[in-house]
Amino acid sequence: MVSQGWASARQLGAAVRAVVVFTALLGLLYPLAMTGAAQALFPNRADGSLVQADGRNIASSLIGQAYLRQVVTHGRPQVDADGQPILEPDPAWFQTRPSAVDYDGLGSSASQLGPNNPDLVATIAARRAAVAAFEGVPAAAVPADALTSSGSGLDPHISVAYAAIQVPRVARTRGVAADQVRKLVRAHTKGRTLGFLGEPRVNVVELNRALAGTE
């Protein structure tokens, strides 16, 4: 037993030193060297693909945002019981998908609601009615991505169908020709990579930035 205890102690000594060595090499040297290399080779992407307007950072082109405005009734901005502004979709912009975290960059999450959760079913029905009314389209024309929250809560994309039903409303609000808006949407639509990877989609962050430039 003495020799077994000694054998265990020797392995334990090696284990302590191994954990220290691996932490130094794989935990510090490796990630810091990769950070240096990434910053040198792809500075914009390594920093989060930030996009600018008027000389300031407005977003990351990969992280979605909500395009909302404060509800105004009889000329008065509305607040809730806690004094927080009550928000509604801003008709001047393309809208992103519902988000379980309200596009909080420090809180990515899905809703985690189950496929037969009655709350989810009711929420989807309410969203269908709201989107149909907001866009002035029949309820059946609202696509699935407009009614469901994404996996990250930060999805920057919407389907081509959801972008299409928003065009007339955006154009009307901005007082520009629908064709002009449609052209912008087309420019920010991506097909499947190589023709078969992923899904066709429209990047709302980049589309709205381009829209801002048309004013």
Binding site: A7, S8, R10, Q11, A14, A15, R17, A18, F22, T23, L26, G27, Y30, P31, L32, M34, T35, A38, Q39, R45, A46, D47, G48, S49, N57, I58, A59, I63, Q65, A66, R97, D104, G105, S108, A110, S111, Q112, L113, G114, P115, N116, N117, P118, I124, D145, L147, T148, S149, S150, G151, S152, L154, D155, P156, I158, R192, T193, F196, E199, N208
Partner: protein, 553 residues
């Protein structure tokens, strides 16, 4: 192009990439673990560790080294989280609460990467890169080392020596994982994955709303998270987060990364036992089952079967990202549950009942299709031994596998191995369902709520790490229970595998005769597929009927 054609081509490209790597990477892996020469840098590491790289270990010493290394790792990881407030690059975050720190330490050391925390507001950059990501490397290497020890026991005879754990660990990290991770990191950054040390950029949107764009050394962690079949996300949404997985290209690439080592290890196995056909046979079993699960899950998910929500929305898009859609999300769900990775690119809790059930059942198979790095190979070898035993019973011959006799001692170890994980998963689930405090962690009503608990304990015991995320895991009960489940589910089977290796290595190989069951033919492949499905099916079927089957049928 129709959705179906595009989806099939997507799967085809993934298989093509894996096929292209199979021979060269398999040969490289076999060389890494059989080469006599040490590199100069490796010798320097052995000197620091105080080990002799040319000394071989018995199974007992090998197991002691595995346990000592893993125990020290748990302690350090726990300590780092508890000391976070005092560490640099922590973004001002406080110490992690102790039950959660235990759960996380157990989770990353056991290669599970179950996450009861929201990383963005709990883990600073230093704990992530110098704590969690280090375990992403070494826990994967530990799994491969144990698998290699088992393979050597088939290749060797009349010896007690299985190799040197420290040499296997260092070589796996230095010659395999690190070079692949360096290349993979750069590829991921080129695709848009972030790699910085910033606490985040504050931006003001076009409508004047403030948002923090998060930062972090993500790409360097993301690559080893997939390659080492770990699965712990840098961010809460894991691979659904656009900074971990920005595009369909990065999605296919990371999906490939989690499969490439487990798949190629079957080639290394074939080369090391000097019969490549044996490797093909195991791969055929893994691929067949993975394919069956993929077909089933895709069928249910694209049709939205059994989901009222999918019918209401006109598609099963709840919890899925627009850029991936249903096909790429389902392909990922089956790959991540078959490999013990547990990274998710869509919310599994929101999958349609039978797809979610298949993801759950896929883990229950014991993570062998193709399984985790190393653990997939040794798990499948244990099942292969069981299959020859069953075949031996049918024809009344002493069973043998790769010319080693399967005796009472081997079968005892195999039986214990087969029983350990289901016992942990099912007993854990039963205890949780019996406690009202634990039941209050459930989010979704009905059978789906039971599925959340069953999924959690199955994921922990099988070291997968994916979740039906509606379950609130950060409670004292779940932190401790799942933490213990992960540690026991990792190290009890490992000790049994090493004991099995010790026993097999001592045997004199028996000659191949006309009566030997060939273990590389279709007959044995089908038999092993049957054993994998029947053994786990019979064990778990009652629990599945209460959850996904009750909901989906």
């Amino acid at each position: 192009m129709s959705d179906t054609v595009a989806g099939l081509l997507q799967v085809g490209l993934l298989l093509l990439l894996l096929a292209a790597c199979y021979r060269p990477l398999g040969a490289y892996l076999a060389w890494v673990f059989t080469s006599e020469r040490h590199y100069r840098a490796e010798k320097a590491v052995y000197r620091v560790l105080g080990v002799d790289g040319d000394t071989q270990q018995s199974w007992q010493t090998y197991a002691r080294a595995v346990l000592a290394f893993s125990a020290v790792s748990v302690l350090l990881l726990f300590g780092m989280q508890r000391a976070q407030a005092a560490l640099p690059l922590s973004n001002g975050l406080p110490a992690v609460e102790s039950a959660l720190a235990f759960n996380t330490a157990a989770s990353f050391v056991s290669n599970t990467n179950w996450q009861n925390y929201v990383p963005e507001v709990v883990m600073g950059h230093l704990v992530q890169m110098a704590g969690l990501a280090v375990q992403n490397f070494v826990s994967a290497a530990v799994g491969i080392a144990v698998a290699v020890a088992l393979v050597r026991s088939f290749a060797r005879s009349q010896t007690t020596l299985l190799g040197n754990f420290w040499v296997d660990l260092v070589r796996c990290c230095g010659r395999v994982l690190l070079p692949m991770a360096v290349l993979g990191t750069l590829a991921l950054v080129a695709m848009g994955v972030v790699q910085n040390l910033s606490a985040g950029h504050h931006v003001i949107s076009l409508v004047g709303q403030a948002q923090t764009v998060p930062g972090g050394p993500v790409a360097s962690q993301e690559v080893i998270k997939e390659l080492g079949t770990n699965g712990g996300g840098f961010y809460n949404a894991n691979s659904a987060h656009p900074f971990e997985n920005p595009s369909p290209t990065s999605n296919l690439f990371t999906n490939f990364l989690m499969l490439v080592l487990p798949v190629s290890l079957t080639r290394a196995f074939g080369l090391m036992v000097r019969d490549r056909r044996q490797g093909y046979a195991l791969l055929a079993v893994m691929g067949t089952i993975w394919g069956l699960f993929l077909v089933g899950a895709t069928f249910f998910e694209t049709r939205g079967s059994g989901s009222v929500a999918a019918a209401a929305a006109g598609g099963a898009m709840e919890g899925k990202e627009t850029r991936f859609g249903v096909w790429a999300s389902t392909l990922w769900a089956i790959s991540t549950t078959g490999t013990s990775t547990g990274a998710v690119n869509a919310a599994h809790d929101s999958l349609t009942p039978l797809s979610g059930g298949l993801a759950l059942f896929h883990m229950m198979l014991g993570e062998v299709t193709p399984g985790g790095t190393g653990s997939g190979l040794y798990g499948m070898l244990v099942l292969a031994v069981l299959a020859v035993f069953v075949a031996g019973l049918m024809v009344g011959r002493t069973p043998e596998y790769l010319r080693k006799k399967i005796t009472v001692r081997e079968m005892k170890l195999v039986s214990l191995y087969i029983l350990t994980t289901p016992a942990l998963a099912l007993v854990g689930t039963a205890i949780a369902m019996g406690l009202s405090t634990a039941r209050s962690s459930i989010l979704n009503p009905g059978p789906h709520g039971f599925s959340e608990v069953l999924y959690a304990f199955t994921s922990a015991a099988n070291n997968n790490g994916s979740a039906f995320g509606g379950l609130t895991g950060n409670t004292p009960f779940f932190n401790v229970a799942l933490g213990l489940g992960m540690l026991l589910g990792r190290f009890v089977p490992m000790i049994l595998v090493l004991a099995l290796a010790g026993s097999l290595a001592q045997q004199q190989p028996v000659p191949v005769t006309a009566g030997t069951l060939p273990t590389h033919r279709m007959l044995f492949v089908s038999m092993l597929v049957g054993v994998v499905l029947v053994v786990t099916g019979l064990t778990y079927f009652p629990s599945l009927t209460l959850g996904p089957l009750a909901e989906g049928l």
